[in-house]
Symmetry: C3
Subunit: 365 residues, 3 copies
Amino acid sequence: MLQTTPRAPRARNQAMADHRTPLIRNCWYVAALSDEVDRNLLERRLLDTSVVMYRTQAGAPVILNNRCAHRSFPLSRGYLNGDEVVCGYHGMAYAASGQCVGMPALPNAPSNACVASYPVIERKPFIWVWMGDREKALPELVPDTHWLDHAQWRTISGGFNFHSNYVAMHENLLDQTHFSILHAKTGIGTPAYVRSDLDVRAEGDRVIILRALKNSPPPPVYAVPMKLEGRNVDRFSDARFESPAIHIAHAKIVNLEPREDEALEYRVNITHAFTPETQNTLHYWWFNSRDFHHTDAEIDRYVLDSHYAAYQEDVDALTWIQQLLDREPGAVEELSFAPDRPGILCRRTLLRLSQLEHGIPVQTQ
Amino acid sequence: MLQTTPRAPRARNQAMADHRTPLIRNCWYVAALSDEVDRNLLERRLLDTSVVMYRTQAGAPVILNNRCAHRSFPLSRGYLNGDEVVCGYHGMAYAASGQCVGMPALPNAPSNACVASYPVIERKPFIWVWMGDREKALPELVPDTHWLDHAQWRTISGGFNFHSNYVAMHENLLDQTHFSILHAKTGIGTPAYVRSDLDVRAEGDRVIILRALKNSPPPPVYAVPMKLEGRNVDRFSDARFESPAIHIAHAKIVNLEPREDEALEYRVNITHAFTPETQNTLHYWWFNSRDFHHTDAEIDRYVLDSHYAAYQEDVDALTWIQQLLDREPGAVEELSFAPDRPGILCRRTLLRLSQLEHGIPVQTQ
Amino acid sequence: MLQTTPRAPRARNQAMADHRTPLIRNCWYVAALSDEVDRNLLERRLLDTSVVMYRTQAGAPVILNNRCAHRSFPLSRGYLNGDEVVCGYHGMAYAASGQCVGMPALPNAPSNACVASYPVIERKPFIWVWMGDREKALPELVPDTHWLDHAQWRTISGGFNFHSNYVAMHENLLDQTHFSILHAKTGIGTPAYVRSDLDVRAEGDRVIILRALKNSPPPPVYAVPMKLEGRNVDRFSDARFESPAIHIAHAKIVNLEPREDEALEYRVNITHAFTPETQNTLHYWWFNSRDFHHTDAEIDRYVLDSHYAAYQEDVDALTWIQQLLDREPGAVEELSFAPDRPGILCRRTLLRLSQLEHGIPVQTQ
């Protein structure tokens, strides 16, 4: 069990990010899934900015600020002409670079006209975008999610758009003490698992929690797809706050008494990508990847149904919280406890990144 | 007729409460009707604060702030465990006192964790709540409404939730000059009644208007249920601004020529309880209590229908006014006249109480 | 073609009106069409002020501020008594002058009670209102639209209420470079027309653009109703920013080879009247008046359908722009080019008029 200090909870009003903290732009965020973007113009709000997305004829994804520099017409209401997006009002044409390359009413394209073109990197199934300082948009900062596009893994996925600030979502994903309450019906986490030792590590801007539980029955969300119901396994898992944009969890189940044709180990990666739509609304995509029983449609269906049910519980909880906070007039005081440490570490990092980016002096504690 | 000073109406911009005046919290308000609160969790917004209501196993009503002290989950989305309300996110349990008494993830309940538990007094059919300074919540300040729970009285009631600040509702109830206009169709008040002498008294924080009208036909809302149509009566009535939370009116009709089996006097008490939901929305409950013809279902139906019709006219009027005021950018100037004196006395009291409570210097006039 | 300076577009951030510029009140605006106002009370929001409109028994249109001076009840929810509007709450009666002339609860009407009565002038089909300084409301400032009520002209009309600031609408009407893009489907403007010489004139607070195109085929919107398809004509047209409230365009088509029974000239006047409902919503009425084929129902239908289709494209465009601007947190930078000169002249005038009226020092450039 976690080491807690009875009757001496942590101090109130810790300096950590909450739903009012300015959004962080210097980060690679998922703008869209690869298969959402094609030769049509797609409008989406990201970090409270309206953008238009499309692919060039060669297939490269493009993300531009959606507001025409001339008279603010939304480019997403215009049309594509080759690799250029053409404004539907006066025909001002922009290259994928955001540079204006044509204006029917002028003899030459105005060289000073442009819209922001955001750095984009596609790593299937994601189209990543960088909406902060361009010189900081290093490709090596794109989080590794290679298992989502690898034949060794079978991935089931879904998504939500809902009413919540993104900070609460990060904390939710680093928090394992809500499993037995919020997810009582959907049965994530077993009592033994919740009581198992938790190792919390902060590595730079990352927060990692690790857990090991030996010789214990797995919960249905693992036991059913692995076909290990009623048997004991060793279970090793971690959950990682990778960046403001993504959270990744890994689970390794060791088959203690493998039968014929059974694997010795089973792995599951769960990827949570989410991007603030506005300060208090969120685009969210989840992915359950397994390295076993790749072609079993029944397992696919089980994973899809069980995960949607559990994540809906999180989405509902965070929405209800946000609705309550929306109507709170002033600052909101939260009380934190020892098991909240992973979330607090994450929220301190988010606050520090936001303050650095917005030129607010960072408080050290 | 009222004494008025022709061509010299009262000065403009009197210092009195209006829809922008901060709400008064140091007062017993009706939180709910007794039969609304049971062993389920009921969420309601009162004085712009979200609360959760329930009953203990022993039947005592409990009203807590709805925001869990830990991560702001609305407790009304959790569940009851005995007399404790359990947060649906992490299982934090609160006693009826608001004190946290359990947190599954901690070895001991954190002693400093609590939510506000508001003083509650039940006097059927009301559950009263005090959301201001706790030390001022004296039980003797609960308004007397004993007739609402007494066998001598037969009560018909109804309710509305509507878009209006509560100040306008108080003024409406002290104002008898709108009867012949706004309620022209529903026939509250007779011309003779409106012209009868009006006595206005301010007693401390109360405002009382009294009226007597002798040897005159009663309006249908009295004549029909009393079965005195076509006959003259003496009529004595008062209307009282009792507190920011309640307005009570009494009527005594004297039967001038009682026939066999008829009563000598008929009494009607009308109780208006209302609680600001937000600055500009209102919970409203009305009660018509009579001390005659207790078991006559036809009279019940007549009272219900006629009152709902008349109160709907008030609710509509106040809603239309509030909608207009909502879009007025600055302060709104109102012109007042001699017959507005009861309402003005009430509104001055409400302003004074609000200023006292919010630490604003009270202007004397 | 327009003289443009390639690669040297006009400077950014020109001082000109945009969607945040305070509305101009010292102007005659269309409050309603004549046939909208009768012996019923009509509520409408004009320049972000709620007004009530009706006609006296003699037929004169009256426009009053809709908020009763007493308790802010909307007069439009009351009723007419002869030429007076009576408040539905306490019966306060106002003459067409706005002067209170009766209050049932008072022995005499309070002489200091009144609501604003706005100067009104009816010139069919318009009821014009002046909501600014009364002494500036000179009748000679009412724009001339005599053709809308003259037997020589046949007028087809329609209207919209939509989500846009009015400045963008003025600029749209002075802008002919969007024809071939936004109206590509509806076919307003021919390529030759768009390339023809444009003369821009600023005359006091007016902006006029003139165009002449000789010996060229007219676009369908002219050719079809004039029955000149497939023939060349001379075409003279202008478009005028007359005031913040109205834009008027004239076209004269010269029949180069008139056949038997054909006219030598065809004229079309297009009148656009629009009044801000709020800062960012608009009442808009359009009128197409022709001096030929007066009684041809097929032409009527063609004009109605083709104009509604084209104006819907403008209304959609301006709505989309406004929706984007609504969510922009700060000032919005627009880039302007040589062909925007008419719109810029108009927007400079609108900014100057607004600054003069609101006491803001006018910047000279």
